[in-house]
């Protein structure tokens, strides 16, 4: 099975105090570390694992700058065969335009399955997968947490609200957006990094895709980023732990949390 996996490099925001820049349209990135989007890491592992089971190929794609190639090198080190970066050329791209760019490249590739992360850790829009499927006219399913191989089909599982699990059959070729926890992503090995250096990492420009930069104006853009206003209402309990514990119990009873 030939799998295309779409990746995105995002700022690592856990345990970090985020700061908004003066223009109030983006987060200050200079002190942030960047990593592969967590959802994409699971999609990548799933792609490589499917390739290993079916003796296929994996092509990793990202839209971004030269710095974003880091996630492609990671993909190659983990076992992807080839990688493609669509040069974003300094444009601010919304999900629809990212999907359009990806679609242009993917149309020219041989594939049975496209995987993306269910969402990205920075903007959390969760749109690119569905929009890409639409661009390519493919069936798709979102937030998939299990894939079983069938004859020209995949059996997939999705977790719904309230813990209900849904099993569906989807025809190949198709696109799936992957939920975290679907697998246990492997670590990058030193041997993998060394092999990756010898694999192809292709860069494609917007011009080469016969797209007009002017036409890639975002339909959705950020107007203003701001911190939520501080609200009152928090009560800090201090003092002897036994007394604090009793106070907590009393509050919980008063609010009807426990009887």
């Amino acid at each position: 099975m030939d799998v295309v996996v779409c990746l995105r490099r995002v700022p690592f925001t856990q345990e970090v105090d985020l700061e908004i820049d003066k223009g109030q349209r983006q987060i200050l990135a200079e002190n942030l570390a960047f990593v592969l989007n967590d959802w994409d890491n699971y999609a990548l592992e799933e792609a490589i694992s499917l390739k290993e089971r079916t003796k296929g190929t994996v092509t990793a794609i990202t839209v971004g700058t030269e710095e974003d190639e880091e996630v492609l090198r990671r993909a190659l080190a983990m076992g992807a065969d080839t990688a493609i970066r669509i040069d974003s050329e300094g444009l601010t791209l919304d999900p629809r335009n990212i999907a359009r760019l990806l679609a242009r490249v993917i149309r020219g590739l041989r594939f049975h399955l496209i995987l993306t992360g269910a969402q990205s850790d920075d903007l959390n829009e969760g749109c690119v997968g569905a929009m890409l499927a639409e661009e390519l006219g493919l069936p798709h399913a979102s937030v998939v947490n299990k894939i079983e191989l069938g004859e020209d089909v995949l059996e997939i599982k999705v977790e719904l609200e309230g813990g209900i699990e849904e099993i569906s059959t989807i025809k190949l070729p198709c696109l799936l957006t992957i939920q975290t926890g679907i697998n246990e992503p492997r670590y990058v090995s030193v041997m993998g990094i060394r092999k990756a250096a010898k694999k192809e990492l292709k860069v494609v420009t917007i011009e080469e895709l016969s797209l007009d930069k002017e036409a890639l104006v975002p339909d959705v853009y950020v107007e203003r980023l701001f911190y939520p206003p501080e609200t009152g209402g928090a009560e800090i309990l201090e003092g002897d732990p036994h007394i604090v514990a009793e106070k907590i119990l009393r509050i919980l009873r008063e609010r009807g949390v426990i009887s």
């Binding site: 880091e70 990671r74 080190a77 670590y187 990058v188 030193v190 990094i193 250096a197």
Partner: protein, 382 residues
């Protein structure tokens, strides 16, 4: 002058960081408390290629350099000094085999290290021969086709776990030159007469194995001599020129780890109505610590990079090792200070880092020995 790591080096550093960040915190404190070596983790790390990257590809290594080795160890020490030390010790002494071993010796012993199937050690220190290594009295006599070894070694990394160990020993006691009396001999630890007694109660890095070794008529084939007979001391100095370079990375990693813990603490702890990070005294401390770490890192990378380009500068290596050890001790001291009373409790990681740091000014050449190496190359011998 290019101070940047290559993409491949950055990727290796990141891969090591990710492995350590995900795997080490699960077991670090327990390994320290129980003084246990986590064999499964070592095997996993070896399978990912993090062990002995400087070993040539022909012998199962990645064929990279001491700089890549240092980058991995820096990240491992950043997460936990004890586990970092144990990972480092897995190939400790393999440089002797690479530099001076025969083809047969390299083929027989090196691939087992990088696959994680074997551990080694290098036994140098004795009860009466620490910094004064040339006074080592563990005796090896050539009787027929075998070396017969007798003596004691103390405080030896992997002493109780190693599958084979290099013994720095006295083979030519009558040679008038003290520096021509020793040799390095490989002993497989299942040889009769080899006994090890694991040391418990080290101040820090307790996840790493250390043992005293007793050799009683240990008989090994003549072919187990590494390098030249009587040249052991010079071979040892050549080894230190390499090991001290990457041991500097231990100091950089420990200091960075301590700094990371301090930053996290001062950004969350509130006193006198504001976060500790808001006090200028805290800001000055963090600025000083970060600067020291960066300086130690720069010198460490430089000496490792020089070694990988074939330039051996004992003076600069000694500077890197002394400075990195001092940096670790100073930075971890300030980092614990910033934690206040919490830092003194063992449910905070900084306490473990604090206890670990001191060894960096003692092993692999005390700071005083490093200064002697530096001064002799500046002033000559007096």
């Amino acid at each position: 002058m290019d101070f940047d790591l290559s993409r491949e080096q950055m990727d290796i550093k990141k891969a090591a960081r990710e492995f350590a960040e995900k795997e080490f915190p699960k077991i670090a404190r327990e390994c320290e408390e129980k003084e246990e070596v986590p064999r499964d983790l070592l095997k996993k790390g070896a399978e990912l290629g993090f062990v002995g990257v400087f070993i040539p590809e022909a012998y199962g290594g990645a064929g990279l350099g001491f700089l890549e080795h240092a980058l991995i160890l820096e990240e491992f020490w950043r997460m936990d000094p004890g586990l970092g030390q144990q990972f480092c010790s897995l190939t400790f002494g393999s440089e002797e085999l690479i530099l001076f071993g025969t083809e047969e010796q390299k083929e027989k012993y090196l691939p087992r290290l990088t696959s994680g199937d074997a551990l080694m050690g290098f036994a140098i220190t004795e009860p009466d021969a620490g910094s004064d290594a040339a006074s080592a009295s563990t005796r090896a006599e050539l009787i027929g086709e075998s070396w017969v070894l007798n003596g004691n070694k103390v405080m030896i990394g992997n002493g109780s776990l190693a599958d084979f160990i290099l013994i720095f020993c006295l083979t030519d006691p009558d040679n008038p030159a003290k520096s021509h009396r020793h040799s390095v001999i490989l002993v497989e630890t299942n040889t009769p007469g080899y006994e090890a007694d694991k040391i418990l109660g080290k101040m820090g890095i307790r996840a790493a194995d250390t043992a005293n070794i007793f050799l009683s008529d240990v008989k090994v084939p003549k072919e187990n001599l590494i390098g030249e007979r009587g040249k052991g001391f010079y071979q040892l100095m050549a080894f230190f020129d390499r090991s001290r370079a990457y041991v500097s990375a231990h100091g950089v990693g420990l200091a960075q780890g301590a700094l990371d813990l301090a930053i996290k603490h001062v950004k969350s702890r509130v006193q006198f109505g504001q976060k500790l990070a808001a006090f200028q005294v805290t800001q000055f401390k963090i600025a000083e610590m970060a600067t020291k770490v960066e300086l130690a890192r720069t010198l460490t990378y430089r000496v490792c990079s020089m070694l990988d380009r074939g330039q051996v500068d004992s003076k600069l290596v000694a500077m890197a090792k002394w400075n990195a050890g001092r940096t670790a001790v100073e930075v971890v001291d300030e980092a614990l200070q910033l934690h206040g009373g919490y830092g003194y409790m063992n449910d905070h990681d900084i306490e473990r880092f604090y206890r670990a740091a001191k060894v960096l000014e003692i092993y692999e050449g005390t700071k005083e020995v490093e200064k002697i190496v530096i001064a002799r190359r500046i002033l000559g011998r007096f």
